[in-house]
Structure formats: structure tokens, C-alpha cells
Symmetry: C2
Subunit: 381 residues, 2 copies
């Protein structure tokens, strides 16, 4: 069995479960740190083990461009390449391709950097400008070569501001690609102990989201993901979308909100709506800029470590925190390291932020199993 | 007893010893990793413990400018500030002040950035351009506040190309400052469990070097250092200088070659000449640029990890190396991390280089105690 639900909270859709993979189990709901280029920035895999990370992410777009899936396959797959023997999830590359296309729509000659057709997408590398093409089949093939435990169907991520007709067109393409991804995966399924997730799109349109949920949930995917520009970045839209699609989601498959985890508060909202997995670069990216997550009664969950008020502060970031940064270093020292632009500052802050997210998830799982999720949420927020 | 000699090699001046400090013992000869701004760049103090570093360096110039000795003193001294409970050595700030003065001799208005007089030196901060002044008395006072176990007399480091008359003048100033440093230290000695080293100068002039050695060795310092632009950067000059001064050095005091450790081969040369301690930023700085130290029969002790020949290399940097980087990661992975400009690459390379230097020193100590130092040197080089 790939996924096993353990307990559903009596007062909400929040639930605990276990995902079983060839590289070990993942207790859900879980937050997945992002290791874009086969590295969770500033950390090494021993750090991640010490942090008890259950699963990490890799980005197919980045790994395809550098060092390339063939190199990784030749070296025994992503787990061996980076020496991480616990579960890995790779995305399909779609999100990066489309968000790159949105950011810089045209090159100097006025040509679009990303060209979508019904079979796939052609795009230019952000590293050297070389031309690449992803199709549902190639995205699956790349992910087979990378060898992550959980892989994603190729999809088109449409901006929220797109017109409904375009969103519908993109959604239909995504559905077609979902079937093609599934077919490409099933052909080689026995060879690779990998589980494939489908992705629900439809931007912020109720009709399309419900249609997409119905379509994707009816296919033989191992798990169901919710994608889109808003997810995690616009929580009003995220909550609305999750509420629209909830009743289409099968009980027996894990559910993944893609790119969610900008704020600790957001985790509560999606767990409450029955989501089992999510990822976000925020805890690591913000850490590198000295933004630290803390539990705070006033619903302010971030502090800026470079703030002058910490210059003389002998205390750790959080006395109750068991991360190694809080165990060993004071706010004053971390403040100094950031002001002096010492590289080690970024790692120490990243360790705290990752621990903060992973620990919060652990506490949520405990609360769910005691049917106290909503109580815990209220206390926490 | 501060310093205890254990064994002198029968065939060279190489010797082993133990330095006793309030923060523990240091087995000599030893290499000291440099933690300029209260951080050995890319590492944290847990890394240094795992590496078995016996002692680290802090730079008075940098710590004075940021975060300032008063802040560090208020937070309990450098050991507590950075949470490192093993020995620390601070330099006097002289080297940085003078090397800054050499690098950028004048500001935009044509004014020198460093102004030396017989009482001390006035200089501008490289951070914000603010004016500061170091005197022998203030350099000692700052180092008392920082609280390192071993501190250095304030000296003037003259360039080798300086005219003999200037070198003599600077040397005499250094001697005067040595006496003043000693006096300032002795006044407060009981309060601070710190040991003060004097510094021999005299550039590459035999007469002046011998004169300086005689003068410094006759003062009541706890240890004797050899300073100068050449030390560690011009090994022909370094060997010559150490040979000139050897017979003036007292047996019962530790000897420190300042800034030495650019190449593993250099360590053998100075240990052979009876030196007990040295430091250099090279192993850490080079690591951040992907330059890795290895034992190699062809007398090439560096490899460039970004080299294309490592792209598919499943082996660690060195199969015989016991550092955590070699234990966990392949050349191919490290090559990828450097090419992808991942921050964690710098830390993993630094761990290997520091381990390489510390382990080489351990092997040298073992060889000395078996009277096999020269044999070990020959085999190694």
C-alpha cells in the first residue's frame, strides 16, 4: 500500500497518514524542504538527517539543465548522487518553465522565451540560453531517470489573471498531458518504484477547478496535487479553491498543495482542508536573508535577525526550540554573523527555519490524532 | 606551566609539545584555522568540534570594527560570544592595518589611509571609512576585552621591498611597542588568563632579523612569533629567516610563524625549523573557490573540483580521508554543487581542507615522536 490514512480529526478535514516508499515512510501531513538543484540551499544531507526531514524536493527543470538527468542516472539516480537515502519528490518542470515565461515574456528580439503547443513546451535555459523542450512523455522520462520516489504529471500552470477561455484551454491541455504522463509512466512502472501524482489546475475559476478535480481524481494517479499561481501565495484564493475541490478528492490518495508554506499560519489552513503534503522555498529563502520563523502570541511569526534590538541579546532565537542553532548560538551572535555577511549565518538560520516548519507539522499531527487540531490552531494563532 | 616540550626529533629541529590554556590543551606543532570575524567562514563551531580543531584564530582588526570589543566583552568574551570553549588566539590588528595601508595607499583626496607615528597607527575602517587608532596599549586592551587565550603584541609589519633604513626604523618601533604591549599586559595579567607573544620583524634583512630575534626573545613574553610580509608567502625567504633566527629562540617558549599554511609542503619546512604554531586563510579561502587539498605523489597537492574530469567521478575527494565530506559525498556531486553555485559546496570543501591540514599536523606529530619526521616529509613530498 502506498498511502494509508491513520486518523481524521473529528472537527475538521485534517487527517494523519503514512506514505510508504522504497526509501522509507513519510508521516503526513508533512512539509517538504526544497532542494532545487539537488541541494537544500546552505545545508548538506547530514543537516537534513539531523533535522529529521522525512522527504525533500528536487526540481526537474533545474536538474534537467544542470547536471542533467543522464548524468544523475549514470551515477545511480538522485538519491545516490546527493547521498540522501530517504524519500524524494520531483516536480514535472512545468511550474518553472511557465513562471520563467511569465517573468520575462520576450527576449531582446521580441521572441517569447516559452512557446506552448498542444504537445508540450519549448523554452530557453536561464543558464545559457540553449533551447529545450518538455512534453508529458519527456517530463516523465526525465523523472524516471532522476528516480525520485514521487513524481509529477506535466501540467500547464496558468496565471490567475488569464482570461477564462485561456484557463479552460490550458486546463484541457493539462488534462490531456495528465493522461499522457500516466501512460508514459505506466509503460515503465515496473522498472521504477515511483508513484505518480496528477495535478488539478483551473486558476481561480470554480467551474474549471471542479471540472479539473473531477477529471484528475478519476485517473489512476497515486496521489492528487493542486497547482496554480495562487496556491500558497494568495491564501484567500487557496482556501476557496481547496473548499471547491474537497469533495472530489478520494480518501485513499495523498493530497499535495504545491508551493505552499509561505507562513506558518497557511499550513493550518490547508491541513484543516485535508491536505497531506506541501512544499515552499520560503523558509530557506527567507533564512538566507535573516528572516526567522518564531511562535509568537501576537500572530507575528517572523523576526528579522539583523534588527538592532538583537545586538546584545544573549538569548537564542527561541528558548523552547530544540534546533541546533537555538541550542548553540545567541541572537547577538547570529545578528553579528548576518551584519558581517558571514556565509555560516545563512546555514544557521536555515536550520532553524526548517526545524520550525518540521516541528510545527509534528505538533499538528499529534493534535490531529487527539482530535484537537482546531484547538491547537486557535492556541497557536 | 604554559608550554611543555615533549619530544625533539633526532634529525631536525622538529618538536612536539603541549600548550596549556584555561580552555584546554593544544598539541603542537599545530595549524590554526582562521575565524576572522568570530566565524571560520562557512563553518559553525560544531563543525570545528567535529573536525577536532584545537585552537582557532580571531582577527582583532575585524572584531574591533564589527561587532566591537565592548559588545563582545559585555556578552562574556569571544569564547561565549561565538560558543567556542576551546582555545582562541587573537592577532594584534597590526597586520591588517598595515596590509590595508599597502593595498590602497591613498584615498580619493590623496590622503594615506594609514598613518604611522611612534605611538601607534591611525587608520580608516574598510567598512564605513570611520577613523580608528591602534596603539600597543589599545591593542592589548582590545585583546583583553576579547579574552582570547593567546594574544599578540602590537607590531609594524613592513613590506620586503622597503628600504633597509625604513625596515630598521619600523623594527625599532616594533621593539618599543613590544615593551609597551608587555607592560600593558602585565598590568592586567592577573585579571585575564591570557598569554602574550612578542613578534620578531626585520623583513628579509639578516642583521635586522637577528637583532629583532635577540631583542624579542630577551623580553618576558610567553611565546615568540615571527612576522613579516614573506612569512608563508615566499617560502625561500621564510626558510632563510627561520634559519637566521633559530639559535635565538628559547627552547621553553612556543614559536609561531604568522600567516603560514599556503601549501602543505610549507608546513614541513617550518616544522623542520622548530616552529610550533601557524595559521593561514588559504585552506578556507581556496575551499570556497573549489580548490581542494589532497595528498599526491607528484607533489601536486591541490585539485580544482570544478574540473570537467570530475563530472562523472563517483569517488570521494580522497578514499583514505576520514572527513565527513569524503565520507558522504562524491567528486561528481561536489563538482555539481560548485558549478551550480550552491552555497553548501563551500562548506563541504572547507570541511575537507581544514581536516586535511589538521590531520597532516597530527601525522607530523606522530612522526616526530618516532624520530621519523624527515622520513615522513620525504615520503609525503
Amino acid at each position: 500500500m502506498f498511502f494509508q490514512t491513520i486518523h481524521t480529526d473529528k472537527n475538521s478535514h485534517a487527517r494523519t497518514g503514512i506514505i510508504h516508499t522504497a526509501h522509507g515512510d513519510i508521516e503526513t501531513p508533512c512539509f517538504m524542504p526544497v532542494g532545487t538543484q539537488a541541494s537544500v540551499k546552505t545545508l548538506d544531507q547530514q543537516d537534513l538527517k539531523n533535522l529529521d526531514a522525512q522527504i525533500i524536493l528536487g526540481n526537474t527543470y533545474h536538474l534537467h539543465l544542470r547536471p542533467g538527468e543522464d548524468l544523475i542516472a549514470k551515477l545511480g539516480g538522485l538519491h545516490k548522487f546527493m547521498n540522501w537515502d530517504k524519500p524524494i519528490l520531483t516536480d514535472s518542470g512545468g511550474f518553472q518553465v511557465f513562471s520563467l515565461g511569465l517573468q520575462k515574456e520576450k527576449n531582446k528580439k521580441g521572441q517569447p522565451l516559452v512557446k506552448i503547443d498542444d504537445e508540450g513546451v519549448t523554452f530557453k535555459s536561464h543558464i545559457d540560453g540553449s533551447t529545450h523542450r518538455f512534453t508529458p512523455e519527456s517530463a516523465i522520462e526525465i523523472q524516471h531517470k532522476l528516480g525520485a520516489d514521487i513524481i509529477m504529471a506535466f501540467d500547464e500552470c496558468t496565471p490567475d489573471k488569464a482570461k477564462k477561455e485561456y484557463v479552460r484551454e490550458a486546463m484541457e491541455r493539462t488534462h490531456d498531458w495528465a493522461e499522457k504522463s500516466l501512460k508514459a509512466h505506466q509503460k515503465n512502472k515496473e522498472k521504477h518504484k515511483q508513484y505518480l501524482f496528477g495535478i488539478i489546475q483551473g486558476a481561480d475559476n470554480r467551474e474549471l477547478r471542479e471540472k479539473s478535480a473531477q477529471f484528475i481524481c478519476n485517473l489512476d494517479f497515486d496521489g492528487i496535487a493542486v497547482g496554480g499561481e495562487s496556491i500558497g501565495y494568495n491564501m484567500i484564493a487557496t482556501k476557496k479553491i481547496l473548499d471547491w475541490i474537497y469533495h472530489y478528492l478520494p480518501e485513499n490518495k495523498p493530497r499535495y498543495a504545491m508551493g505552499l508554506g509561505l507562513n506558518p499560519a497557511d499550513l493550518f489552513e490547508v491541513v484543516e482542508r485535508g491536505i497531506d503534503m506541501f512544499d515552499c522555498v520560503a523558509p530557506t529563502r527567507l533564512a538566507r536573508h535573516g528572516i526567522i520563523f518564531v511562535k509568537n502570541k501576537k500572530n507575528k511569526h517572523r523576526l528579522n535577525i539583523t534588527n538592532a534590538k538583537y545586538i546584545f541579546d544573549k538569548n537564542p532565537i527561541d528558548k523552547a526550540c530544540s534546533c541546533s542553532t537555538c541550542q548553540y548560538y545567541s541572537l547577538a551572535y547570529l545578528n553579528h554573523l548576518f551584519r558581517a555577511r558571514e556565509i555560516s549565518a545563512m546555514r544557521l538560520a536555515t536550520i532553524h527555519n526548517i526545524h520550525f516548519f518540521l516541528n510545527l507539522m509534528k505538533e499538528m499531527r499529534e493534535a490531529i490524532e487527539k482530535n484537537k487540531f482546531l484547538k491547537f490552531k486557535k492556541e497557536w494563532l
